[in-house]
């Protein structure tokens, strides 16, 4: 399992498409920085094909006032959770 990390909003950047292309069937995706916009119900559709494997970073959601506005399918993790994900993953790949 690889951990993919995206830091751009799907509303402004198509880098999410590249991340999705790079994802294998067991890989997970973590949204950080502006990427957390993708956790909003209005934008989460871009990640429909990886439902259940999408995470968003709590600290970045909080900073943007978006915590509590995430789509239900998104799993919110804090920085410790981020560390756990990197431990569980064989490797991490950043998309920016």
């Amino acid at each position: 399992m690889l951990l993919h990390v995206v830091n751009r909003s799907p509303a402004n950047s198509r880098v999410y498409e590249q991340a999705l292309s790079g994802m294998g069937p067991d890989d997970v995706l973590l949204l950080i920085e502006d990427g957390v916009q993708g956790a909003l119900p209005q934008l989460v559709r871009y990640y429909a094909e990886i439902e259940g494997r999408l995470f968003a970073l709590r600290e970045d959601l909080e900073a943007r006032g978006l915590l509590g506005r995430c789509a239900e399918s998104v799993q919110v993790v804090d920085v410790d959770g981020f560390v756990t994900l990197t431990e569980e993953a064989e490797r991490t790949v950043s998309w920016y």
Partner: protein
């Protein structure tokens, strides 16, 4: 713990930027060449706009800036022979693999994710 029978290759460099517009492409190629010079097995994956790096007939920029085409021609000398190109990105630009300046392997979205899991280290440029 991985699902592949083949041993992992050392490094996959993903190139996602076109030549001349920024230094990303040059930086990525430099990283690949350095790794190869240190004996690592290196593969390249051209994704998105990065496929523009493979256009034949590239020249210097309007202010005589050096491009990256000359570097690409040196890849073989560094034993960087696994050159993958995102087939979707090629068709989005109306290009086909056989008109590119190097002998590259077009790969589907599925093969891209396989390439990522087949390398110990992935660097995205």
């Amino acid at each position: 713990m991985h699902e592949h029978d083949e041993p992992l290759r050392d490094l996959l460099v993903i190139l996602r930027h076109a030549p001349h517009g920024s230094s990303w492409l040059k930086e990525g190629l430099d990283a690949a060449l350095v790794a190869a010079a240190f004996g690592q097995s290196v593969s390249l994956l051209f994704m998105g706009e990065g496929v523009m790096a493979l256009m034949p007939g590239q020249g210097p920029g309007p202010l005589e800036q050096k491009g990256t085409a000359a570097t690409l021609e040196m890849l073989e000398m560094y034993d960087i022979e696994t050159l993958l190109v995102d087939a979707e990105a090629l068709s989005a630009l109306g290009l086909s693999a056989d008109e590119l300046m190097l002998d590259v392997t077009p790969v589907s979205t599925e093969a891209i994710s396989e390439a990522l899991s087949a390398h110990c280290l992935v660097l995205t440029f």
